[in-house]
Symmetry: none
Subunit: 214 residues, 4 copies
């Protein structure tokens, strides 16, 4: 109540951009939590507001609509993934290390805590064009692109000229995606051997199915 024209200040405090960002994050994290546990369509704005500790209407100050929350979550996840994923020095890596690393990262990332959320996102990605685009461009394409780059280099350096790098790399990403999906669907074998997968898959891929097993 300390005023020289205090009301104005009190009533319209200069909006700190940090606050805006953190509010967004706060809401997104609440959304992630609830989406993960109830799915997208079963989650109501009220649910999210309650968990976020804000009013229903407040959410609409930060997000266009309910779907925008999903897009926002994608951004958030991408952002974090990027921070964690130090632009690892792929350049000098040998193939085995590369493959193991490349397979391991997504598998352990999802292992951590994102299975439920992943379900929800995939679910909507399947059905929502905008989200599908976002997912493809922000998540899948960059990952694939990076690997393709590496594979080309490696093929060139090792005299494997005929390698269809563009398809080979899709083999890798499809494999990862498929593994996660099957795990999510309740496959027991995958759950039991989840940690060994990067290693085993790498050997299978390098030596070929008929190759020598370590």
């Amino acid at each position: 109540m300390n005023d020289d024209s205090p009301e104005a200040t009190i009533m319209h405090p200069p909006v700190q951009p940090d606050l805006i960002a953190s509010r967004r994050t706060q809401i997104l994290e609440a959304a992630a939590e609830v989406f993960a546990s109830k799915g997208f369509h079963s989650t109501t704005i009220k649910d999210i507001a309650r968990v976020a500790g804000v009013a229903d209407g407040t959410i609409y100050n930060y997000f266009e609509n309910k779907t925008a929350l999903l897009l926002g979550m994608l951004d958030l996840m991408t952002e974090r993934a990027r921070q964690e994923a130090q632009p690892a020095n792929l350049a000098g890596m040998d193939l085995r290390t590369f493959l193991t690393t490349y397979l391991q990262r997504p598998l352990t990332t999802f292992e951590a805590n994102n299975f439920e959320l992943f379900r929800v996102i995939v679910s909507e990605v399947m059905v929502n064009a905008a989200l599908r685009d976002g997912f493809y461009k922000q998540v899948l394409k960059p990952t694939v692109g990076l690997a393709e780059q590496y594979l080309r280099q490696w093929a060139e350096q090792n005299g494997v000229p005929a390698l269809r790098a563009d398809l080979a790399v899709r083999l890798l990403s499809s494999l990862t995606l498929g593994l996660i999906l099957q795990r999510v669907m309740g496959d027991q074998i995958l759950e039991r051997h989840w940690d060994e997968l990067p290693g085993v898959m790498t050997e299978l891929l390098i030596g070929g199915l008929a190759g020598e097993q370590p």
Copy 2:
């Protein structure tokens, strides 16, 4: 109608199970069509009824609820898949043929006309436990089981004793699933080379990434 034929005296023919079945199919096909074009949640019962040419209520004479329609579609697809999939004599196949066949079937099946529907099913499978179970048990598990059987035999006969058949086969199914998903998500490369995939993937898997390319 007034004829001497004996049929005329049959007054209450035991309700033709055929009719029931065909009505179910009629409704399911309508559902598939609408689901594919609008997604599950955006489709109303009225939409389906209209396309099927029946009243809203009639649908509930054949299906418990909206979700049951999806389960029914799963059955229908499984049924058809089973009919198409002659219990091919895997026993005598060489590895290359086996892999190509095994990869090819799902890819071409979905190529045909089911992409949109596949999206919807995967979408709900991710989020609906009952459906997930159905999908896993009816679609994924049988496929995987068959292949595992083959791989074990093959490994034994070809002296590759250490092969982790249980994981190797999951490599295959994950690969398939992942390829379809990436394609569904709009990957251009995959779309362009869809028909070559079984062949290319087979070579990559047999020879290993480092293997000799044909």
Copy 3:
């Protein structure tokens, strides 16, 4: 259709009126059973048909609509009540016997097995004018009328000229009705002393609240 050919006879057997009646009864009893256990509005025609062992549509050959079933049940109950209620020779009865008898009959009748059904009927009687009329005219009025007759006679013979027989008798019927209702609502005391009620109430009514208790 009117020909001598045997088929005609076989196909349209002369309908035995007994059969009609028994079919009606069969359906009504099924209705009573289901109504009693689920209430009127929660009971579907299909429920009744199943219990009666007939098809849905058959019910509509015997009853105009769902409400008519209630009216029919009323008739059925009235009919039975009338048969049981031998036009007891009230004429010579002393007051105490009369009262005890008069109170006892409805209480034990409902005790038997009709509580649940009574609930349903009262429920609809409250809300459905036609049914209310039926109940009033077929059940309440006759009972009250009979008693009024007796009371007048008795008052005359015993020199109690001022007795407002018309109201006194309503005291009796209201009492009965009210007791049943309170019992139905779960009053424990009434349930425990149900059998003693006719006696106790009779004494209270004869002696007055301040009267000597036996």
Copy 4:
């Protein structure tokens, strides 16, 4: 709004409970009106909303579901009844006054304006366990309890030791309930003599049927 008064600085006044209460009341009164005229099952939420002057959805901000409206009405009636019923000093009353009062109150209360509504409530009470409980506990039990207390005292003070107060009081409440029901069912006699009933019934109860009539 822009004045110097301190109130102006109160920005988010804790939502006035008064407003909530009044909105509830507004809706309940609308519900009572419509229920009374059309019955419970024939009344739609839309009907109530229209009469209350709110949107359909608004009703669900104040009541769980349609049935909760009935429960709410019970509360409202109980509340009002309690306010009217000053905890009258029964202690010092003589029996005649007590009885007259005790009988009179419910009869005149319902006379006023509640007959139609009473019908609806009784109707549902018969069939809905939750409502039945509410009615029993909030309406019937308290009334009965109060009277029982009085009767015990009175019996003790007047040397009527054998009085079955627990049953005697149920005679009273049953009588009341039954009278209202018969009146509701269209009994002309009761309607005509409604106002005299408390008096007449009191005399009948005190003197006994055989007693001297005033």
